[in-house]
């Protein structure tokens, strides 16, 4: 799953099988009822620079949307990884903590960061498990779910960053 739903937007590969948090550039992928995987999108990676270290809170830690679940270090700059969801950490990707470059090389795959159980599992199940086309959708607050909407947001963000000289053309 995933490869068939990837498109190139403004020069970046965008996976359309998951949700995105526009402010933090984190993605959320359903992994089962009430369970998600969280990672960073390629624009988040691009703006971070070459990743030197990544660390996460331990499994079992409660998560609150908008608060850090870890830290990322690039160019001697340590900054928070902000959780897009509320719940609890079920697992962290040890491969990424040993080799932060995985996030750059494979942001949608081997570079995933944490898996989490979500509060209000039934709501999450409804919102994150893919339903049949046209089915009722309940969105997680602040997460983009619609592929067209995701593409438009991502393209606009890249264009804005390029206009401001923040990333290369």
């Amino acid at each position: 799953m995933g490869q068939a739903r990837r498109v190139t937007v403004a020069g970046f590969v965008l996976a359309l099988d998951r949700r995105y948090q526009p402010e933090t550039h984190m993605w959320v992928l359903a992994r089962g009822p009430g369970r998600v995987r969280v990672g960073m999108d390629p624009l988040g990676v691009e703006t971070s620079g070459t990743l030197a270290q990544v660390s996460f809170v331990p499994a079992g830690t409660e998560l609150t949307a908008g608060l850090p679940f870890g830290q990322l270090e690039a160019a001697k700059f340590v900054g928070p990884l902000v959780s897009p969801v509320s719940g609890a950490v079920l697992a962290v990707n040890g491969a990424v903590t040993r080799d932060a470059g995985l996030v750059e090389r494979d942001p949608y795959g081997a570079g995933w960061m944490i898996e989490a159980s979500l509060i209000e599992a039934s709501l999450i199940e409804a919102s994150l498990i893919e339903a049949s086309p046209g089915g009722a959708t309940v969105e997680l607050p602040g997460l983009l779910a619609d592929p067209a909407e995701i593409s438009v947001w991502f393209a606009a963000k890249v264009a804005d960053y390029r206009l401001k000289g923040l990333i290369a053309q």
């Binding site: 971070s48 620079g49 660390s55 331990p58 870890g70 830290q71 001697k76 340590v78 470059g101 401001k164």
Partner: protein, 349 residues
């Protein structure tokens, strides 16, 4: 055209803490981070540690430090919240920190760092040091780094810190590192002498130049200030936290299976300058890598009939990524050494 820094309107608070204990030389400016996050103005602060100590970056491994040596010489070991490597700090260094709201900083880290370090470069130049910010975002004179720096986000504030190094004790800076391979310590010290330099200028003139440079860059008038009530509370909490074993231990790290794979130790002297030591299956390598090229190497593979010197010559001057291929020509010892090299140098050098 890059997006400019966008600090809030108001003043640039300038706080000179003067001489501080090793602990306070860290916690004072971390407290300012919490204060600026809570609404205190953009702040430029200074302090100088009253006594020497060792400081780990946020992600630094505790076992990078020779704790026995530090205990024997009364050197405290602390961990900061910002990035960078393990460093030796003492009273011959003046620390500076610029702290501003995160929303005022460009979202691209490299660009934020460049903008927040360029005023420091201006200050160095104002006091006669021909410094420049290089492509690795290090403040250098020629090839030599003259200012260590680190950066981080503390809640909703960004802080970039650095130092004026009036004198640098290269021997001690190398000695506090845990380096089981004596050859690596010798390599590290040699590269420190070559690539890290002091700039013995008048610290008062430097601080005045810093205030002027950051005030101009941020478009804020400089006003002397002191800690807010929020910051004083944060300071007390930070004093406790930074002295705790759990904080010193650092972020949670994944457990590695004991006894599996090559054992490697890497030391970054400055951007692009590394020493590495690694062992694998009886093979041992010690190497200095400068700008991606092997500059010095010591190879041991066991046995006396193996042409170690010939192999050392073969890999000297070779790009790091090609070393394993060159060593593969030296039979089984070469392959074991190649494995040790690969382990030591995984990732970017």
């Amino acid at each position: 055209m890059a997006e400019p820094l966008r600090p809030d309107v108001g003043a640039l608070r300038v706080v000179d803490f003067g001489l501080s204990s090793p602990l306070r030389s860290q916690t004072l400016w971390h407290a300012i981070g919490y204060g600026v996050s809570a609404g205190a103005p953009t702040t430029l602060s200074f302090t100088r540690p009253a006594a020497p100590y060792v400081c780990l970056g946020y992600h630094g491994a505790l076992d990078e430090v020779d704790h026995e040596y530090c205990r024997a010489h009364g050197l405290p070991v602390l961990r900061r919240m910002v990035g960078g490597g393990t460093v030796y700090l003492d009273a011959d260094q003046v620390f500076f920190q610029i702290c501003l709201p995160a929303r005022a900083v460009p979202p691209v880290r490299a660009q934020a760092l460049r903008m927040l370090l360029e005023p420091a470069v201006t200050a160095f130049r104002s006091v006669g040091v021909p410094a420049a910010l290089d492509d690795d975002l290090e403040i250098c004179v020629g090839d030599r780094k003259v200012c260590g720096h680190g950066a981080g986000q503390i809640e909703d504030a960004v802080v970039v810190c650095g130092n004026l190094i009036q004198r640098f004790d290269h021997e001690r800076a190398a000695r506090v590192l845990a380096l089981p391979d004596p050859a690596q310590r010798e390599h590290t010290l040699a590269l420190m002498h070559r690539f890290v330099a002091a700039t013995p200028v008048d610290p008062a003139a430097f601080q005045a130049a810093m205030v002027s440079a950051y005030s101009a860059a941020l478009g804020l008038g400089a006003v002397p200030g002191e800690l807010t009530a929020t910051e004083r509370t944060a300071l007390t909490d930070l004093d406790d936290r930074f002295c705790s074993d759990s904080w010193l231990a650092g972020p949670v790290r994944p457990l590695l299976a004991a006894g599996t794979g090559p054992r490697a130790r890497r030391v970054k002297v400055r951007a692009g300058v590394w020493t590495l030591a690694s062992q694998h299956d009886g093979a041992q390598v010690t190497v200095s890598v400068v700008r991606g090229t092997v500059e010095r190497v010591r190879l041991r593979a066991g046995g006396s009939d193996w042409p170690a010197r010939q192999a050392e010559l073969a890999v000297t001057g070779v790009p790091w990524g090609s070393v394993a291929d060159v060593l593969a020509r030296f039979g089984d010892p070469g392959r074991r050494l190649a494995a040790a090299f690969t382990s030591a140098g995984s990732g970017t050098l």
